[in-house]
């Protein structure tokens, strides 16, 4: 802020100094400052003020209409001093003689006001010229300034008296000096070049163009009545400022005339321009709609309303393919029964053409076109011209969008491309909405799977029971969200723990739900029967009765009796249990069919129950095929042998660390390869 005040104070002080000198000269005829120095001082102070104006304008909000108003206001403000000047003639170039001190004061003020206002006008014009500037715009405008500066320098020569020239000749355009005439020609040429920069007209709406035209039509002739007298009024005060005034007035005279011409030329097409803007705006708002609406019906309602705006139709409707036929999915500006009242073959030729040949069809005169001859009998609504576009997503057609005007030749040819672009957007929007609906469904499904997975994980035993003289540990990793593997450790009594691992055939959710059912059944049976064979046989009966045909379960069921240190084990189609002693690894490859494959009698015949005495520091491992069939990225299978080797390596560890170490080895083998099947394992360690 302080800087700004300085910018005002400094030129003001200079002007005061000049005024004092002028005053002294008028009073005594003595010259305090040479005319050259005086001119330079005046020019400097005016330049500082001008800088202030430029700075001011840069910070102002760039609104075209506001700038135009500023321009008009400046011109009217200029008129006031020139009015005063015309009343009182202050002409006396040689000595300022006969001037009263008050008159001198007024004169100084007026001269400054003139120049400042002229500069303002120049700045407003600059703003207009710079709209949508190209690389040459600034150069052209600077060219004008350079011409003006050279002209002023040239005239500075005159003021020192070296080349005498008559005032009128010097001020008004061309004089006798060739160089000065060339410079003046430069000013006029640059004004003409800048006059071609009328891009701001494009930014005006139709109404605004009329307003600007009327404004210019008043202001311009009005300004011409007095502006050319201004330089003559300023010149006696300062020749340089006079020259500057000539240049600016010239510039305005040329630019103003060209602007009026520009607005006049563009007026007839003004409506079209507005329409274009409207079209683009509606395409944009459609894009916005696409992003925000995922309900197909709601989307169609919105897009149809916009279709009317885009091409300026009276009504529109949309047909979507449904099976082999078409269904009116939405309409705007017309009732459904009105569409239906169209004679039945009425739409078919149009629809066929749009779907099979042209992706967009314009019929200018419905009554005269072969394809729409049936429409003549469409009594309920007026129809003059038609636009129809295919809604196409990738290579399949979703439907057809129709827009109708009540009068023939209602659509311009350009609307065809626009309507096509619009239809493409609509097609994408509809397809998008479908996809979103689908993914919401899938999200729901995923959510279900996640819940099922959580439920399944809850089904696994949360803590391991205390067993006298033994430890037990379980692990279950699922490949997908849910799998068919399960294990359980059931403390039936203080002297009996049942340990089982099973796998329900099939995939995904259904296997998991059967597994959950099975778990409850096994828990109950464990308390009812004492032999693993009986329990497995009963499970088979349950599966035969309750599961869908083709589903089967592999199960390995064992009962551990801690007092006797005995393990009773039955294998029903499952991978054999592994028994690890101090010096060997042994598989329980007893016979036994999977559950659910045959009736219980036949199953019982196949089952082979084995009993095993466990000594201290031995382990039995029950596991699922996910363990040994897991493959890493290189395609290597973890495999039975690797698993047995690893088991033998870790046999001396405690049950829990054994499990941790086995898992670590398995995971380092898999090296982050996604698992393809569930992995389940239970270790009993004595």
């Amino acid at each position: 802020m302080k800087k700004r005040i300085l910018f005002f104070i400094f030129p003001a002080l200079l002007f005061v100094a000049i005024f004092v000198s002028d005053f002294h000269r008028v009073q005594s005829g003595e010259i305090l400052i040479t005319p050259l120095a005086r001119e330079i001082l005046i020019t400097c102070s005016v330049l500082i003020l001008a800088l202030q104006l430029i700075w001011d304008q840069k910070n102002r909000q760039k609104d075209l209409i506001a700038q135009m108003q500023g321009l008009g206001l400046s011109i009217i403000l200029l008129w006031i001093p020139s009015f005063i000047i015309q009343r009182q003639v202050y002409f006396d170039t040689e000595s300022f003689g006969l001037l009263a001190p008050f008159d001198l004061f007024i004169w100084t003020i007026l001269a400054i006001a003139f120049v400042v206002l002229l500069f303002r006008i120049l700045m407003y014009l600059k703003f207009m010229i710079y709209i949508q500037q190209s690389r040459n715009t600034q150069r052209n405008f600077h060219f004008f300034f350079i011409c003006v500066l050279l002209l002023m320098l040239f005239d500075l020569n005159i003021s020192t008296g070296r080349i005498p020239e008559g005032i009128t000749e010097r001020i008004l355009f061309f004089g006798r000096s060739l160089w000065r005439n060339i410079l003046m020609g430069g000013v006029i040429l640059s004004a003409l070049i800048n006059g071609l920069r009328c891009k701001w007209i494009h930014y005006l709406k139709r109404g605004q163009k009329w307003l600007v035209l009327i404004l210019l039509a008043f202001i311009y002739p009005f300004s011409m009545t007095f502006l050319f007298a201004l330089p003559e009024a300023i010149d006696p005060y300062s020749q340089l400022l006079g020259t500057f005034a000539v240049a600016v007035v010239m510039f305005w005279a040329i630019y103003g005339a060209m602007a009026i011409g520009g607005v006049l030329v563009q007026l007839p097409t003004a409506g079209l321009m507005d329409r274009r803007v409207e079209e683009i705006a509606s395409l944009q708002s459609l894009s916005a709609t696409i992003g925000s609406i995922f309900d197909v019906d709601q989307l169609i309602v919105k897009t149809l309303a916009q279709a009317l705006r885009v091409v300026g139709a009276d009504y529109a409707w949309l047909e979507l393919k449904e099976g082999d036929g078409f269904r009116i999915a939405g309409r705007e500006g017309i009732r459904e029964n009105e569409i239906d009242s169209l004679p039945i073959p009425g739409l078919v030729p149009v629809r066929d053409e749009v779907l099979q040949k042209e992706s967009v069809l314009l019929i200018n005169n419905i009554a005269r076109d072969k394809r729409t001859e049936h429409w003549k009998r469409w009594r309920k609504v007026r129809a003059g011209s038609l636009l129809a576009a295919r809604l196409q997503y990738k290579d399949h057609a979703l439907g057809v969008l129709y827009a109708v005007r009540e009068y023939s030749f209602g659509f311009v040819e350009e609307s065809r491309g626009l309507f096509k672009a619009f239809a493409d957007q609509v097609a994408i929007a509809i397809e998008n909405a479908h996809l979103v609906e689908l993914s919401i469904e899938q999200e729901g499904y995923r959510q279900e799977l996640r819940l099922a997975h959580e439920a399944q994980m809850r089904l696994l035993p949360r803590s391991m029971p205390e067993i006298k003289g033994a430890e037990v540990e379980g692990l279950c990793l699922t490949a997908n969200d849910i799998g068919g593997d399960f294990y359980d450790v059931i403390p039936v009594s203080s002297n009996r723990v049942d340990i089982l691992v099973g796998d329900v055939s099939g995939k995904g959710a259904s296997a998991a739900f059967y597994m959950a059912e099975l778990k409850g059944v096994v828990q109950t049976l464990a308390h009812l029967f004492t032999s693993p064979t009986d329990i497995v046989a009963e499970v088979n009966t349950f599966i035969r009765n309750q599961f869908e045909p083709g589903m089967f379960v592999t199960l390995i069921y064992s009962i551990y009796l801690p007092v006797r240190k005995e393990l009773q084990i039955v294998r029903a189609g499952h991978l054999p249990a592994i028994h690890i002693t101090q010096d060997q690894v042994h598989l329980f490859e007893s016979a036994g069919l999977g559950l659910g494959l045959v009736d219980t009698v036949q199953l019982r015949e196949s089952l082979e129950e084995s009993h095993l005495k466990l000594e201290d520091n031995q382990a039995v491992v029950l596991y699922s095929d996910g363990v040994i069939e897991a493959r890493n990225r290189k395609g290597e299978e973890y495999g039975e042998f690797r698993f047995q080797e690893d088991l033998f390596d870790v046999k001396a560890l405690s049950c829990q660390t054994m499990m941790t170490e086995l898992r670590r080895r398995f995971e380092s083998f898999m090296d982050d390869t996604p698992m393809h099947d569930d992995l389940t394992m239970v270790i009993l360690k004595t």
Partner: protein
Amino acid sequence: MSGFDVVRKDVEAISVVYLKGYLDAHTASDFENALQQLVDEERIQIVVNLSELDYISSAGLGVFMGFIEDIRVKGGDIKLAELSDKVFRVFDLLGFPVLYEIFLNEEEAIQKYQ
């Protein structure tokens, strides 16, 4: 992951189905459709050739179980032929040899029908 392929060959009244690759939860439906088509055509004397099958999961085994009873009630059968050791072990663990006739080669299985 290797793919899975089902190819069918008709030999008079008998249809031979060749399975190739990985038969698991993802590919089971292909096999299911092939069997369903045979049942629809009432070609229920079926031999499944497993010589090129690399892997079978419980879901794949489930497909056999899903059809066998239906086919046997109608008087047909599914016979298995040319199992690799690995695939045979999976069938064996589950007890399939009790349920299905398994042959070393395809011709034997076809002859069994005739």
